[in-house]
C-alpha cells in the first residue's frame, strides 16, 4: 500500500524503468545538465527548459484539454516548482524528464481535484452508455471505432481522464507511442532495454488503460466527480 502510494506520488523515485523514457536527450547532455543544476548553473537550467518546455506543454495539454489558459498555468506552476528544487535533483532517482514530469503530474492531479462537480464527465458517461456497438471491442482494439465517435469530444474527455489516472510511466509510454508515433525500437534504444521489454510494458500500459477506461465509463455518475 505504501509503495503504491509512493508510486503515484513519486513515480520517478520508485520505477527505474520509466526513468529512461523521455523526449529524446543525449545521455551525455543530460549528465552535463544534471551536474550543472546541482552546481547552480543558470545555463544548465535554460538548457533543461529549452529541451522540455515544449513537451511538457504538449503533454499537459493532452491530459487537460485545450484550454490554453489552464495549460499555461500548469506549465508555469510546473517549471517554477522545478526551478525551486532543481538543485537537489538526484540522477540516481531517474532522468530529468521523469523528475520534471512527476512535478507536472502533481499539478495536473491538483487541477483535476479542483474541478468539481464534473458535469461534463457525467455527460460523457451517458453518451458512452448510449452508444450502440461492441464498445469494449473498440477499446480492446478488436474492432475499428466508428469515425464519428473518434471525433467526438466526449471520447476525448474519457480518454484524457483515463490516461490521467494511469501511473506516470504508462501515461508517458502511451503518449510517446500512440501520439508522438515513436517506434518501440526507438523507445527501447533510449531506455537501454530490449524491444521485447518495451512491448511488454506497452501491453501492460494498454491493459491498464482499458481497465481504467472501463471503470470510468461504467461507474455511476458522482456528484463530486472523479479525483485523480
Amino acid at each position: 500500500m505504501l509503495k503504491r502510494k509512493l508510486y503515484y506520488d513519486q513515480s520517478w523515485d520508485i520505477d527505474v524503468f520509466c526513468c529512461q523514457l523521455r523526449p529524446y536527450m543525449d545521455k551525455n547532455v543530460e549528465k552535463a545538465i544534471a551536474r550543472g543544476l546541482q552546481q547552480g548553473s543558470q545555463q544548465a537550467w535554460l538548457q533543461l527548459y529549452e529541451a522540455y518546455a515544449g513537451p511538457v506543454w504538449r503533454n499537459i495539454s493532452r491530459l487537460t484539454g485545450g484550454d490554453s489558459a489552464v495549460v499555461a498555468d500548469l506549465v508555469q506552476e510546473t517549471f517554477l516548482a522545478a526551478a525551486r528544487s532543481a538543485r537537489n535533483f538526484n540522477a540516481g532517482r531517474g532522468t530529468l524528464w521523469v523528475w520534471l514530469w512527476a512535478i507536472a503530474r502533481r499539478q495536473i492531479a491538483l487541477y483535476y481535484r479542483k474541478q468539481k462537480p464534473r458535469m461534463p464527465l457525467d455527460q460523457a458517461r451517458q453518451w458512452w452508455a448510449g452508444l450502440d456497438g461492441e464498445k469494449f471491442d473498440w477499446i480492446d482494439a478488436k474492432a475499428d471505432m466508428p469515425p464519428d465517435i473518434l471525433e467526438s469530444k466526449e471520447l476525448a474527455l474519457l480518454v484524457r481522464l483515463a490516461l490521467s489516472k494511469l501511473p506516470g510511466d504508462y501515461q508517458t509510454l502511451l503518449l510517446a507511442k500512440y501520439i508522438d508515433s515513436r517506434q518501440a525500437e526507438e523507445i527501447a534504444e533510449q531506455m537501454g532495454r530490449s524491444e521485447t521489454a518495451v512491448r511488454s510494458k506497452l501491453t501492460r500500459a494498454r491493459k491498464a488503460f482499458r481497465k481504467v477506461f472501463t471503470r470510468l465509463t461504467t461507474q455511476a455518475p458522482k456528484v463530486h466527480g472523479v479525483s485523480i
Binding site: Y49, R58, R62, A72, L80, A83, S152, S181
Partner: protein
Amino acid sequence: MNDKTTDKRISSIISSVNRGTNEPDKQFLEKLREQSATEFEGYVTGSSKKLAKTINFSRWRIIMKSRITKSVAAAVIIIACCTCLILWRSTGSGIALADVLNRIEQVAAYRYQVRSTITALQSRTDLKNTVLISQEYGIKFTSKTVDPNNHETDSADTYLLPKQNSEIFVVHERKMYARVKFDGAKLEDYKEQYNDPRVIVKQILGCDHTSLGQSVIDGITVEGFRTTNSTYGGGFMGQADFEGRPDKADVKLWVDVSTFLPVRVEENVVTKNGMRMHEVSYDFQWNVAVNADDFKPVIPEGYLSFGEVIVPASNEDNAVRGLRAFSSLAGKYPDNLDAISLNKKARKLISLDIDSLNDLADDEKTKLTSKLMSIMGPAFLYEKLVEDNRDPAYYGQTVGPDDTNKVLMRWKQDDGQYRVIFGDLSVKTVTAEELSELEKP
C-alpha cells in the same frame, strides 16, 4: 489481428486527446523561460523572492485583464467601477477645461485612435484601438493587437449600448461573445474604460493640474494641460484597477485653441505592482456621420456565446448575498475581496470553465455566469467603497460564519457612522467609537 492493426486502432483512440489541444504558446514560454531562470537563480543564491506568479499569458490574458473587457470579464475577470468626481473649473490658463468638457458634450458623434503599450514583468503588449462614440447610439470600441513586426490581429470589439442598458463583447481571439446586462449598475460608469475624452477631461479636472502653455501639433495650435496626480483614474488605462492603483501618473491633454476640442492625449501610468501603461489618443474626428447600423454588434458565425451576463449593482444587499453564497460553497468567507482572486476562486467553486460553456444551453450559461456575478457582489461593493474613500475594511481571513459578533466588513457612511457586516452576515450601523470597540482584538 496483427500488431499494426492493433496499434492503429489504439493510436486512433488515444489520439482523440489531441482534440482541441493547442501547440505551445511561444510567447508565453519565452516569458516563462526568463521567469523560471530568475526563480532558479534566486533559490541557488538564497535570494529568492516570491515572484509575481502570473505571466500575462498571450494576448487573451492581457485582453481579459483590460478594462475594455472588464465586464465580460464578468464571466472571467471583471470589476465594476464607479467614480465620484469633483469638477474644478479654473485651470489658470486661457482655456477652461470645463469649457472643453462642454464642447465635447455638444458633439453628436466622434471617432479617434488609441495606441497602447502595456509592460509588465518581461511581457509587453501593444494595442491599436479605434473608438466611435455617439451621444445617441453609444460606443463602439475595436481593438487590435500589434506584434513586433507591426502585424495587426483582431482582438476584441466592444459595444456599449445605453438604449439596451447592455454591453456586448466580441472576443476574436477566443471566438466568443458575451452580452452584459447591468442590473442597477449605472451604464454611465462604464464609459471611462473607452478612453472617452469626456472622462479624461473630467478626471484631469478632478486632479491638481497645470497648464503646459501653447504648442503646435499637426499644424494646429493647441494648449496643453498636465496632471501628475496619482489619483488620476481616467482613460482606457483604468486597467490599473486590475494591476493595482496608479503609483505614478503623467497625463497630458492638448486642446485645439480655436475649437476647444482635444487633439491629443498622452497617458503614462505606473501601477503599484510595477505595470507600466503608455497610451496616446489621437486623430480625433469630430461630428462624424453615424447611424444605428454602425453600432449593431457584428458576431461572426460559430462564435461561442457566454449567454447573458448580469452584473449586479454595488450595494450592501448584493455584498451580503455574495458572501453568503461564497461561504455556503467554501465553508468560509473569501480571504480578501480582490476582484481577480475572488473571481478565480468563485469560478473554481462553481466549476465555471470557459471552454465547457459550449456544452451548455444559453439559459444555463446565464445562470452560471450570474451565479459568478452574484458571488462577486462584495468585491464590487468594496471596490466602490475604496474609490469613494469610505474607509472600508474587510476581515475575511480571520472572521468566519460562526463569528456572530465580529466585524467582517465595514465602511463609513455620509453621517460619519459606520455600516458593519458581522460574521453571521447581520448588518448594523454603529458609531465610530462602537466600531473601535468591536474591532479590538
